[in-house]
Subunit: 223 residues, 2 copies
């Protein structure tokens, strides 16, 4: 009796069709200008149906956030499988994040929006937001693991608390990627345009700075 399963599958399929449509519309006109009507049209469904799958427009946008964070975490997970030193792994994770932002600025925008909503009651009731939180936890755990590997193989200073340090790295890297994101097409951020700073160089500076801070004595590259 595979009927239940088939129904389940069809439900997931519809869910994905809707999120696909939402991405098309929201990525092209922005969350504020996008309307549920248009997303419904794009998905070839009625507006009402959208509300059978998502509690609100915001939750639908959260589903997009979830997709982005899934993708990012998959990349992180893959990198952790590689055979690198802990310090290299930490750098690698940072670089993957940056690449992701450059490659998928629309998902990053969704991340930003999700964060700016973090004090809205509505979020807490949403399963989808719950999964986003789970992904955040996982991402952080990847960094912690990389740090622990580094402490074992001697590339990272073992006097740090890996959990605290992971949070510091996560947060500060997020800041750098935000700036990189805003350097992109169509953002109003004058100073960034005027100082003709290359964001690649910016990120390299950042990594060098951090590396020298977290590396164990013998692995610091001092001039």
């Amino acid at each position: 009796m595979g009927i239940e399963e088939r129904k389940q599958r069809e439900k997931e399929e519809r869910y994905n069709v809707i999120v696909d449509a939402a991405e098309k519309v929201i990525f092209s006109k922005g969350i504020e200008q996008a309307t549920m009507q248009e997303i419904a049209r794009e998905a070839e469904l009625s507006k009402g149906t959208l509300y059978l799958y998502f509690k609100s427009k915001n939750e639908l946008y959260t589903a997009i956030t979830l997709r982005g964070s899934d993708m990012l975490n998959r990349r992180f997970a893959r990198a952790l499988g590689d055979d690198h030193s802990g310090l290299e792994l930490v750098r690698k994770l940072g670089r993957l994040y940056l690449d992701f932002v450059k490659e998928h600025p629309d998902y990053f925008k969704a991340f930003m929006h999700y964060e700016s909503m973090s004090d809205v009651e509505e979020l807490r009731e949403s399963d989808i937001a719950g999964q986003c939180e789970e992904n955040r936890r996982e991402a952080l755990s990847f960094i912690i693991r990389a740090l622990q590997i580094g402490m074992q193989d001697g590339t990272i200073d073992e006097r740090y608390d890996p959990r605290e340090l992971a949070m510091v790295l996560w947060a500060s890297t997020r800041g750098i990627t935000t700036v990189t994101h805003m350097k992109g097409e169509g953002h109003y951020f004058r100073v960034l345009d005027e100082m003709e700073i290359d964001t690649g160089a910016l990120f390299d500076s950042y990594l060098a700075l951090l590396s020298s801070g977290i590396a164990s004595g013998k692995h610091k590259k001092e001039s």
Copy 2:
């Protein structure tokens, strides 16, 4: 003939009355739930009048952002007058930013919203947003100055490009303050709650990390 001046003054006064009212309403219910009608009531003016002073609800919120950034910059400016080493100044600026966020989370929320709007056309036409950009430039220039002071007095490694480094510091500090902000009342950020990390300690770690990265050789505090 002080009539023109008086009119000017009255205009500014009304502007401030409106922004005061907007703060009351928006800070208490959030930008999405706040209505222009209610802000008008709070300001004891009609809704139409609000639109004589602000192009849109978003621009009104931008005016709040401007107030916040003015306040922050004033604090920065004051600190730069103090007699500190460059390295200490850089740390001081970071700490001032953090204190500001803790003291005025609502302004910081406005900052976040302003950033998440940076790709909306509308912003570019707004004088008020222009002043926000000017403030960003000024804030960055404070950091650059602190770095230059440090390079002169020998507390900061002079091999860095101060402008690039300033941007790195600005961006990464922003990331840390964001996390600190989200640790506060009513934010949905599970990992942060579960790991019972103190944000004060987090910031200290961050500062220590950076300091060891940017300090000149003789000013590093190695164990």
